[in-house]
Symmetry: C2
DNA sequence: CCATTATTGCTATGTATGATAGCATAATGT
DNA sequence: ACATTATGCTATCATACATAGCAATAATGG
């Protein structure tokens, strides 16, 4: 039976996102990174001297949840903390972190390519702007 | 700072789905239903005499996770179980379940309308087919 | 017909994610 | 200077989703 909920954009959005996240998680697993950790690495490279709080605000991760994520990345030797003032710290990539990020980017670029390839050509260019209209 | 990951369809998909799910959960909360429970009610009405396993397969919810979901709906008096054979049971809506579902449908219809309204007109009709190409 | 296999519904359990509350410290602004 | 806000963190809880295993039943194929 064909899914009777598939005509609802909200439901389709949920199913598409779940399928996508599962697949991406599988592909990042060999790098010992979860999706959120990979996005942190990506962000940290692009934004010089971001603090934990700033990362959280940009990725919509609560401060309380940033702590264990960064701890994991630090233990793995991928990031280190650099004091900004006596309270804040900049998160920066270690050399190992940069290497890992390069691998992440290969995985993600390939993944995004395949993702778009699955969308019929007529709709392809509309996907990103449509999605970006749906979050604040 | 604008989010430097927003150009990736996969990331935009995740953020859009998260924002959407949060909003929908908020709107369903007054009905004492979670999103997954609301979708079960919807499905049960449209498919006569579906079993727990069939619901799970259609909504991509594991059998093990269906059990507590259905238990909650049953305790709330919204569904009841009707024997099919000595092993399987059909899940059917009670009268209270039908009433609750009507309320759910009002919430969801309004929600889906607003969701689509946020998408610029040029992209609107492409969203659903693009999303439905992304899950199996 | 009977033995094997598959399916159903369920419990128990683990893990990832997201949220809240609270806390000590430090920075900010009026 | 003092009240307010921000930071980084711990502890804790709820939800979602996954696996393993189990007892009963159904379905299948030699």
């Amino acid at each position: 039976m064909t899914d009777p909920l598939a005509h609802q954009p909200g439901y389709a959005l949920r199913r598409a996102a779940n399928a996508m996240m599962g697949e991406l998680a599988t592909r990042l697993a060999p790098l010992s990174l979860r999706v959120s950790e990979a996005s942190i690495l990506t962000l940290v490279e692009q934004c010089k001297d971001v603090s934990s709080s700033e990362i959280g605000r940009m990725l919509d991760i609560k401060r309380a949840n940033m702590a264990p994520l960064l701890a994991r990345l630090e233990v793995a030797g991928l990031i280190r903390r650099q004091p900004i003032d006596r309270k804040s710290q900049a998160i920066v990539l270690t050399p190992a972190g940069e290497d890992r990020l390069a691998a992440v980017q290969r995985v993600i670029n390939q993944f995004e390519r395949e993702l778009l390839a699955r969308v019929p050509e007529a709709h392809r260019e509309h996907l990103l702007p449509a999605l970006n209209a749906l979050w604040p």
